[in-house]
């Protein structure tokens, strides 16, 4: 599989009055051509900072202290502002979270959608407007032709998010970064937007990085999933591997604390405590203080990535050969049983048994 984006050993720190916040601590991942990679994590886990660094949109007090972001043989972190400008909104573009604030309220939507084309150049205004209309049709704005001159306030929240998507795809980008694109929307609208993104992916063959904290959405859209906690990726794998055969106790906790429609037990499982302060990140596994399975070593040393399958890795000491065998929570065990059954029935591929995917 061709890697379109390759992030290696990314380290980003923020200078604040209280000291230096270690927001991203050695993050590496890649994006394959044509796939959707979901990055899951809570607020403050570093998922937005990671993708903003790809776009060169970090705040002024942030600095990248290590790492590389390889896009088609070019390190984006070393690119000049000019080079970045020609990539941003053209080869790589971004859908922002809030459709209410990411549109210009004083500009007609047709012009807003055409803007990236005009900025990046080679197209006449007339052609650009024609393409804008086409793309607005594509994202499902009915009667786009007559609505080109309308302003954002004349559209509903769901339609506005469609317009935001139209702007981001008008140049047919190779990489599309969606930062919580459905969080502000109702479930029915959310479902429509997700269907739309899948459809667009087929049509314009773009690769998507999808950031969210909603595991339900991830299950519906992702090919692969990376779970972030306290500025690090702690587990990654195919969507089936993460949802049916999770290995890191934090992933267990996340999956467990969401009620499914058949949860009826008396209490929800809640991960105790709060995420660590990244002014002074803990020496070991950052999740240890909230982890009922934590061992002494979790407090002392950062766990390396252990290989589960060719495509599935998790950074937890529990996978060390010397670690005692632990029983995951009941709901997770149920998921794992389901996984083995699905693999046995051939409904999902396991890269261990089938070896069909060569992965990394």
């Amino acid at each position: 599989m061709e890697k379109i984006l390759d992030v290696k050993d990314l380290q980003i720190n923020f200078d604040t009055f209280a000291g230096q916040v270690k927001a991203i601590r050695n993050v590496s991942f890649h994006l394959n051509k044509g796939e959707t990679l979901a990055i899951v994590g809570e607020s403050g886990s570093g998922k937005s900072v990671t993708v903003r660094s790809i776009m060169g949109l970090l705040a002024n007090n942030a600095h990248v202290d290590n790492g590389s972001i390889d896009f088609k043989g070019k390190d984006l972190l070393k690119a000049t502002p000019r080079e970045l400008e020609s990539i941003r909104g053209n080869d790589i573009s971004m859908i922002f979270q809030d459709p209410m604030t990411s549109l210009d309220p004083t500009m007609p939507i047709g012009k807003q959608v055409a803007e990236p084309l005009l900025i990046h150049g080679s197209m006449s205004k007339k052609k650009a407007m024609a393409r804008a209309e086409e793309v607005l049709e594509l994202v499902g704005i009915t009667n786009a032709k007559n609505r080109m001159k309308d302003y954002p306030h004349q559209f509903s929240g769901g339609q506005r998010q469609r317009i935001v998507i139209a702007i981001s795809i008008v140049n047919y980008p190779e990489v599309l970064i969606a930062d919580e694109p459905t969080t502000a929307l109702d479930v029915t609208i959310q479902a429509q937007i997700i269907d739309l993104m899948k459809e667009l992916q087929n049509k314009i063959e773009t690769s998507i990085i999808f950031i969210t904290h909603d595991l339900g959405v991830v299950a519906g859209i992702a090919d692969r999933v990376a779970v972030m906690y306290a500025g690090k990726i702690i587990e990654y794998g195919s969507v089936d591997e993460i949802f049916y055969n999770p290995q890191h106790p934090y992933t267990w906790g996340l999956l467990n604390s969401m009620p499914t429609l058949d949860t009826s037990s008396d209490r929800l499982y809640a991960i105790p405590g709060t995420p660590p302060n990244l002014l002074n990140p803990p020496a070991g596994d950052a999740f240890a203080p909230r982890n009922p399975y934590a061992m002494q070593i979790d407090y002392e040393q950062m766990p390396p990535f252990y290989k589960v399958t060719d495509t599935h890795y998790a950074a937890t000491w529990l996978l060390d050969p010397q670690a005692p065998k632990v029983e995951p929570p009941a709901a997770i065990k149920k998921r794992q049983e389901e996984y083995h059954q699905l693999v046995a029935e051939g409904k999902i591929q396991s890269s261990v048994k089938g070896g069909a995917k060569d992965g990394e």
Binding site: E42, G216, P272, L342
Partner: protein, 319 residues
């Protein structure tokens, strides 16, 4: 929440033909709530779900009288509170409290946590002196799982989940009987949501509280509620026990809403079939009201539609 099988649950809230119009009579009139009726029983959690603009928050805010209802009745323990004013309002607001959605906007940034929590105590003169006040604040901080030395800090020093706990402590300070929780967890992270939901359930058991739980997150509403009402365009579409609404939905809108809920299960998601909803069936000019289709299960319907819904309820039973 488990309704500990009391023989005849007492009605705590009765909403009758409530209408809440904004800009009534003007061209830009909005019928935010358009003739809804329902009861909330003592000790239960009543879930109200709907999309943005459905009128679910307005319903909560009308009940606690943040608005003056256009028409209709709201009874609290049998007494109509839809028209009461000033002095009486104070009395009943002690019994009824609200937890708001946004833990960042609903706490005054210039007040210390202990003053935020004790504001109700001061207004209702529930404490005699500072020692008593501090003691009560400490008690409340313990109850919601915050530390006592948080009392002298300011809201900005807390995370979203902690702030929501402060909001809960504030609501509990005056020992209310009924709490309206308007999307209390939607602004919180997944791992923190479960903590707050568990806290709300524990407190309910301890103090025999009644909740109106307003939310758009359907799986969480199902989990926390005894009964659920589904709201759309200012009207109640369906009302029944939580499991009935989820397992045996009858109204097409409820079915559509449920079919859109994303679940953390890739196989389910791959096979998911969304059911679009065509709201033109609401606009055929026919009179509709909530009709009991099977015992305890109400659907917005015309007289003729009742038998159709009964037939589809039958189908569920056969399965």
């Amino acid at each position: 929440m488990a309704n500990d099988s009391q023989a005849t649950p007492k009605k705590l809230i009765e909403v009758k033909h409530l209408k809440q119009y904004f800009n009534a009579g003007r061209p830009n009139e909005v019928k935010a709530i358009d003739d809804i009726s329902f009861d909330i029983y003592e000790g239960e959690t009543f879930g109200l779900v709907g999309e943005s603009g459905s009128g679910k928050s307005t319903t909560g805010r009308s009940i606690i009288r943040l608005y003056n209802p256009t028409s209709g009745e709201i009874k609290f323990y049998g007494e109509d509170i839809s028209k009461i004013k000033h002095k009486d309002m104070l009395k009943f607001r002690r019994e009824m409290q609200m937890i708001f959605q946004d833990p960042y906007a609903s706490l005054n940034p210039r007040m210390k946590v202990k003053d935020i929590i004790a504001e109700g105590l001061d207004i209702h003169h529930l404490v005699k002196n500072d020692e008593e006040r501090d003691a009560r604040v400490n008690e409340l901080l313990d109850l919601v799982g915050l530390s006592r030395d948080h009392a002298t800090r300011y809201p900005h020093e807390f995370s979203g989940g902690q702030r929501q706990r402060i909001g809960i402590a504030r609501a509990l300070a005056v020992e209310p009987k009924f709490i309206i929780a308007d999307e209390p967890i939607s602004a919180l992270d997944v791992s923190i949501q479960a903590q707050v939901v568990n806290l709300l359930r524990d407190i309910q058991k301890e103090q025999n509280l009644t909740y109106l739980f307003i939310a758009h997150d359907l799986s969480m509403v199902k989990y926390i509620s005894d009964r659920i009402a589904v709201m759309h365009n200012g009207r109640l579409m369906e009302l029944s026990t939580a499991s009935e609404v989820y397992d045996h939905p009858l109204h097409p809108y409820t079915k559509s809403l449920l079919s859109a809920v994303p679940l953390p299960d890739p196989m389910y998601e791959r096979n998911r079939h969304r059911k679009p909803y065509d709201d033109s069936i609401e606009h055929d000019g026919k009179e509709r009201s909530l009709k009991e289709i099977v015992p305890g299960h109400f659907v917005l319907a015309t007289d003729e539609e009742v038998s159709l819904y009964q037939a589809s309820a039958e189908e569920y039973n056969e399965k």
